[in-house]
């Protein structure tokens, strides 16, 4: 199993109007591997993730999920494929018309028609894993803090034990201790559940902890990828600047210096 490829992306292009966001992405994610994508704000990381999920239709290229071409799939095949996925959205994307627990066990309730009591129990168990007590279960998402919403989103992403999990900035907005709890959780999903994880993060501590491998997205292309142990001394000036968070370097920030 370990050597097989869970996600394979070939020559992926996507433009929004004149803005060419993805310019030929090639990337493989092995089964049961945790890959972290690094890249500046606005470099197209979220767009890449949404393309893999089929939420954005790319202009060109191929995406294979477990060897199946996911782009020319029928709607019902895609819905079946989605059952393998868990996704944490950058902004949480919780359903604000539903209480927290129904958000978490949404798929079980709506798609799998699980009994409500059982689904709620499952939701409460999963919420506990992300450090939320059972009294938040009946609250509405709008009554939670940003970090708590993020964790509810995380619970929703992992509740059905998906085989491929996508995390868009899982630790943003969390305090350092809770961030580390979440890192452990992501690591655990990969090592204990055998899941494949594809994460986006700006948090280098998190990247070090959760990744087996790292890829860097810059100007719409993957400019470097390698094992996370090599991230610190990649020999790539761009990666170096990013990893060490320096303002000086080949990546120029388009800000006005006064």
């Amino acid at each position: 199993m370990t050597s097989s490829v869970a996600i394979s992306i070939r020559n992926l292009h996507k433009s929004f109007g004149p803005k060419h966001v993805l310019k030929g992405i090639n990337l493989d994610v092995a089964t049961n591997e945790s890959l972290v994508i690094l890249g500046g704000s606005g470099s197209g990381k979220s767009v890449l993730l949404k393309s893999i999920l089929g939420l954005i239709e790319p202009d060109e290229g191929e995406i294979l999920i477990d060897g199946q071409n996911s782009l020319n799939m029928s709607r019902s095949d895609r819905e079946d494929l989605m059952a393998k996925f868990g996704m944490l959205f950058q902004g949480g994307a919780l359903f604000d018309s539903l209480p927290v627990w129904e958000n978490v066990s949404f798929r079980h309730l709506i798609v799998d028609s699980m009994a409500r009591g059982e689904a709620k129990q499952l939701a409460i168990q999963t919420l506990a894993k992300v450090g939320l007590s059972d009294d938040v279960a009946d609250l509405s998402p709008s009554e939670l803090s940003g970090g708590m919403q993020k964790r509810v989103g995380l619970a929703r992403a992992i509740v059905s034990k998906p085989s491929i999990i996508f995390f868009d900035e899982p630790t943003t907005g969390l305090d350092p201790i809770m961030a580390d709890v979440i890192n452990d959780l992501i690591r655990g999903s990969v090592s204990d559940l055998g899941a494949t994880a594809l994460s986006i993060t700006h948090d280098m501590a998190s990247a070090r902890k959760i990744s087996d491998r790292v890829a860097m997205l810059y100007h719409g292309e993957i400019i470097w990828q390698g094992p996370s142990s090599q991230m610190e001394n990649s020999g790539n000036a761009y990666v170096d600047q990013f990893v060490h968070g320096r303002a000086e370097g080949p990546i120029a920030m388009p800000v006005l210096k006064g």
């Binding site: 949404k50 999920l53 089929g54 939420l55 709607r75 819905e79 079946d80 989605m82 059952a83 996925f85 868990g86 996704m87 959205f89 902004g91 994307a93 919780l94 359903f95 604000d96 018309s97 949404f106 798929r107 709506i110 798609v111 929703r156």
Partner: protein
Amino acid sequence: MEPLRRLGEATLALFTAVGRLSLFAASGIFHIFKPPFRGKIVLHQMVEVGFYSLPVVGLTAIFTGMVLALQSYTGFARFSAESAIPQVVVVSITRELGPVLAGLMVAGRVGAAMAAEIGTMRVTEQLDALKTLSTNPMSFLVAPRLLAGLITLPLLVAVADVIGVMGGYLVSIYKLGFNPATYLHNTMQFLEVQDVVSGLVKASAFGFIVTLLGCYHGYHSKGGAQGVGQATTNAVVTASILILCSNYLITELFFSR
């Protein structure tokens, strides 16, 4: 050439919009008939569309019935036709004013709310999240709303018809001095089944139009809070226009022979 080019562009844009709306409607209708059936959501939406619209539609109906009686009285007095008031009130209400006014009020209340709700779900990525949870928004959000609109508006308009006629009755009896028994007798005698049926068919069509445009504009909204606001406005305006156009067409279908 410039005006011609503009005209061409506007025409193309119109056709694109009509095409997109038609496809959206077709997909919505398809999902009404395709399992899974979401009875609970439909019921919930029926309460939203119908029950909570009762006060506003009831008020509209009663005042419309009242003013109709009053206006007809002062107008018909000029050629001594005051006795036709019961017939005028009941036919106007059931055929035209009941469904059209209820449709317009519901467009403002329900169409706007649907556009805002689904629009917010769009811009906060909740629609994307639904898809990642193997749930098609057309089936989960749009189809139940369309069905609720189709079923509920006729019920709402039936109630509005009764209230509207009652408004005319009250003014006629207590202000204009009609005999209650004669008034009711004339009302019932003159009313034809087709008057009511055509009104209810209209109501169903308007219910579909309102929910369709609410969902459509919400679904296609973009660009944050401002985009949602724009979607809401568009939903109400386009639904109102379509209600008035289709009202004419349905009237033609029923009564042109």
